[in-house]
């Protein structure tokens, strides 16, 4: 295989250049996606790509470089750039090349069945989905955006300390965003399904659900500005946790960018809250058997009944804190350096059904969607003020849809003010981790309408 051959040549040339330990990681990806407009496929895309990243220790400093031109002509530049980069590093916490963990759990994240699904079936699924959406209700005005996509990827790490790991995975997803209109109002809603089992794409059920969501929002209005009890629906809660997930990263803690510093063992959340990172769940999208440094991954309870148990570590932060890596070394692609990210991170399920939680509200709001998370939330301070939509609830009954409001608060405070946890865990779009949450009942948040 060409990459193995290239690896040996890189290590050989690197040794001559003065590198001690060296590592290459290679990620390759095969992707297919398509989109439908009206009743035909109008956008179709395929790709085969890969990139190689090199890192090596020279004079006790780690240097990084990468290239997408994966051939022998790149070797010299790759090594020279890495050497140059190593020379300027000033951080005293030395990074290391890892020799490997004793045991790696096997995680089955490649579906052979999925890899054999025919292109025709994928196109047909999307066409059926679109047709089904329009069938639901005459108020369906448009499909705003839609996508079917699947990936097959392979990641490899090889180093001069003898580590050699390969993991293959695949994933498929469907996304639909639609617009409904009546004589006075128009509203959009979207639905996403990510899976490794093609049969999970129940387009009839999904079409029904996305149209219903949009229809129930028609006629939505702002509510009076004040503090309300908030029922943060599973998807919305997951997207908020996704936004603030980095507060658990030891890197942020050590760099003074997380208020969880010095809080190990302390109550940082309501005692109903347990937060888990589990890299070994077959069905979940961020599962992996080894992290980006080659460390074996394992299940990790971050918050247990409100008490902060651990931060997420890579080798460097673990060494600094005198603990072991939790297997959360992460690079967002072959272009990055090693940072920290969760795998499948979620707030553990509680006992309450969604309906019971709604019934428990005297006066408050159900928030079904949060917008502007990339700008309206400050992960350092924990402050957020976000555009939101949902429903107004009075005496346990949904009274009317609500939009053009903001909800504002502080994430650290919110964790402490969770009064009840649902049993309806949902995960959000996978990106630097796959984050999930059940519906959460929050004592109060400031609402502006």
């Amino acid at each position: 295989m060409e990459i193995l051959n290239l690896k040996d040549k890189i290590f050989e040339a690197g040794k001559e250049m003065g590198f001690d330990d060296m590592e290459i990681s290679y990620v390759s990806n095969k992707k297919f996606n398509c989109k439908v407009f009206k009743d035909s496929i109008d956008d179709y895309s395929i790709s085969i790509e890969g990139g190689i990243s090199f890192r090596g220790v020279i004079n006790n400093k780690m240097g990084y470089s990468y290239t997408e031109k994966v051939d022998e002509t790149s070797i010299n530049l790759l090594l020279k750039k890495a050497r140059e980069n190593a020379q300027v590093i000033e951080n005293d916490d030395n990074e290391e090349i890892f020799e490997g963990s004793a045991i790696y759990e096997r995680v089955d994240i490649f579906s052979d069945d999925y890899s054999h699904v025919k292109v025709e079936d994928k196109l047909q699924l999307l066409l059926n989905f679109a047709e089904e959406v329009y069938k639901q209700d005459e108020r369906v005005a448009q499909i705003l955006y839609n996508l079917y996509e699947d990936h097959e990827s392979e990641r490899m790490i090889f180093n001069t300390k003898g580590l050699s790991k390969i993991e293959k995975s695949n994933i498929g997803l469907i996304y639909f965003s639609i617009l409904v209109k009546d004589s006075k109002d128009s509203k959009s809603s979207s639905i996403l399904k990510v899976t490794r089992d093609f049969r999970d794409f129940d387009y009839k059920e999904m079409a029904k659900s996305v149209v219903e969501d949009a229809l129930t929002l028609l006629g939505a209005e702002p509510v009076k500005s004040k503090d309300y009890s908030i029922l943060l629906k599973n998807n919305a809660a997951a997207s908020l946790l996704q936004t603030f997930k980095d507060i658990f990263s030891a890197e942020n803690v050590q760099h003074g960018r997380s208020l969880l510093k010095n809080k190990l063992g302390e109550a940082i959340a309501s005692n109903q809250i347990t937060i888990i990172d589990d890299p070994h769940i077959k069905e979940k999208m961020a599962s992996r058997s080894f992290d980006s440094e080659g460390v074996a991954t394992k299940k990790c309870v971050i918050v247990e009944e409100g008490l902060l148990k651990t931060y997420l570590h890579n080798l460097k932060t673990a060494k600094k804190d005198g603990v072991s890596s939790t297997g959360h070394g992460y690079r967002n692609s072959y272009k990055g350096t090693i940072t920290i990210a969760p795998t499948n991170l979620f707030i553990d399920s509680g006992d309450n059904t969604y309906d019971d939680l709604v019934k428990s509200i005297e006066e408050g709001l159900i928030i079904t969607e949060l917008q502007g998370l990339h700008s309206g939330a400050n992960i350092v301070s924990g402050d957020f003020s976000l555009a939101a939509e949902g429903y107004f609830v009075k005496n346990g009954q949904i009274e009317k849809p609500v939009n053009q409001i903001t909800i504002a608060g502080n994430f650290y405070e919110l964790l402490k003010n969770i009064e009840a946890v649902g049993n309806d865990i949902e995960f959000t779009f996978p990106s630097e981790g796959y984050v999930g949450s059940p519906t959460l009942l929050i004592k109060k948040l400031a609402v502006s309408g």
């Binding site: 956008d43 395929i46 990084y64 994966v70 955006y145 960018r257 309206g376 350092v380 903001t406 400031a446």
Partner: protein, 462 residues
């Protein structure tokens, strides 16, 4: 960048199943990024992005394929795979490339590859130290450095063959101010379509101090009140309001399929009389500037709104077909990994007549947004939201105490009619704009403007 005969063969293969147009995009980009944390170099990475995108049209349908393999066999194979999506008879298309040249309007003096890493780092240090020394309350300073040298080639079945080279430099300064219980941040990210000369032309100390000043100010700020108020938004990055509230809705990406509230509205009044808005990719060396777009079209100055009347959209080739309109030099993409679509370059509201002092003094009570954070919009409904990085109350025509955690929400088409004062201090700010064709450098800009009423979300209540 790629052998001309090979490109010819790829296009021929791509059109073998009946496509009516095909295009090859080649990208070769050198990137350096450095991170300075607490005054020390934390990481430094350099690399080379390289890949080839192949696009085929069949009427309104589009096929896109990309790879970073560059041998003839792999490229012809992926072209043929992509072509399989079309099942018609081959059309008679003769290929004859004509190399197109143009006047380079974005001159680069110091290419990043000729600058030593230590010099790049000393630029970062200067900004970092200025931020750190600003106040004892500054607990952490992170400075990021980015330079890229991107060479692109576009060739298509209509004979186009054109190259561009874009060199960009940017600094990211983030200061954290902290006391016992809280942390707040301030950010500055100056950038340009320039080489290393950019850092010699700007006042690094001033940028560092400004990031620190914002963080410290916000640490001592009260939570923002919520409700509906007049809002004064200052220049530079304040232009993000137009970018979100209106700009995205004027991209053919959403207009062509009538997914935008601005579809079919050319010639109609969409904003108050004092609003003129422009997207101009030709401003020399600005962050969002390019010579030719990623479809090989020369960029231009596009008037979007003139004195409140909608004049035009930003249009790429594919959506232009559907709209029966000419492309406007707006086809952009993050990299070869994305098919291009219509995007903004440097977008701004043109200068008006009011002085900033006059605008503030004529505002009885409201919010003054000195610096904006980012935001987002739903083009179908026009609903937008964006964050205020540094805000103040305005009381009795004077800027009062700072307030934090403010988010502005509203509806694009409505807000445009509510702009009731436009200042004379036009300036631009730099950002990365994310959309279907990835994340691209874009300038936003405006003079100070006043919106008569926006919903402000804050933690304080009314």
């Amino acid at each position: 960048m790629l052998d001309k005969r090979l490109i010819d063969n790829i296009i021929t293969e791509a059109l073998s199943t009946g496509g009516d147009f095909a295009k090859v995009f080649v990208e070769d980009k050198d990137v350096t990024s450095i991170k300075l944390l607490g005054g020390k170099v934390e990481s430094s990475v350099s690399g080379r992005d390289y890949g080839i995108g192949i696009r085929i049209f069949n009427g309104f349908n589009s096929i896109y394929a990309y790879t970073n393999r560059n041998d003839a066999e792999s490229l012809l194979k992926i072209a043929s795979e992509a072509a399989k999506a079309i099942k018609e008879t081959k059309k008679e298309i003769t290929l004859n490339f004509i190399e197109e040249t143009y006047n380079n309007i974005h001159h680069i003096r110091k290419f990043p590859k000729d600058i030593r890493l230590v010099n790049k780092i000393s630029v970062m240090r200067e900004a970092s130290e200025a931020a750190k020394n600003y106040s004892k309350e500054i607990s952490q300073v992170t400075v990021g450095y980015l330079d890229e040298d991107q060479k692109i080639l576009v060739a298509n079945s209509e004979g186009k063959y054109i190259e561009d080279r874009r060199v960009r430099s940017r600094l990211f300064i983030e200061a954290v101010a902290a006391n016992e219980n809280e942390m707040q941040t301030g950010f500055f990210g100056p950038g340009a379509h320039k080489g290393f000369e950019f850092f010699e032309q700007i006042n690094l100390k001033e940028y560092g101090e400004e990031a620190a000043r914002v963080a410290v100010t916000m640490l001592h700020a009260d939570p923002c009140p919520s409700g509906k108020f007049p809002v004064v938004i200052d220049n530079k990055f304040g232009g993000v309001i137009f970018h979100e509230a209106c700009g995205h809705g004027l991209e053919a990406t959403s207009v062509a399929k009538k997914n935008s509230v601005f579809a079919d509205k050319i010639g109609e009044k969409v904003a108050s009389d004092i609003v003129t808005a422009i997207d101009d990719g030709t401003i020399p060396n600005h962050w969002g500037s390019i010579n030719v777009d990623d479809e090989g079209e020369k960029t231009r100055k596009n008037i979007l709104i003139e004195n409140g009347i909608l004049k035009g959209y930003m249009i790429d080739k594919l959506n232009g077909r559907r709209m029966e309109m000419e492309p406007t030099g707006s086809g952009r993409r993050q990299s070869y990994k994305y098919a291009p679509t219509s995007r903004m370059t440097n977008t701004y509201i043109a200068a008006g007549k009011s002085t900033p002092e006059e605008i503030i003094s004529k505002t009885e009570y409201g919010i003054y947004a000195k610096y904006m954070g980012g935001g987002s919009v739903n083009p179908a409904t026009g609903d937008f939201n964006f964050a205020v990085m540094e805000g103040y109350l305005i009381k009795n025509g004077k800027i009062d105490n700072p307030v934090r955690g403010a988010t502005l929400i509203g509806n694009g088409p409505n807000i445009l009619h509510k702009i009731d004062m436009v200042g004379n201090n036009l300036d631009h700010g730099q950002g990365m704009c994310g959309s279907v064709s990835g994340s691209i450098p874009a300038n936003v800009g405006q003079p100070m403007i006043r919106v008569s009423e926006i919903t402000v979300g804050g933690r304080k209540g009314e």
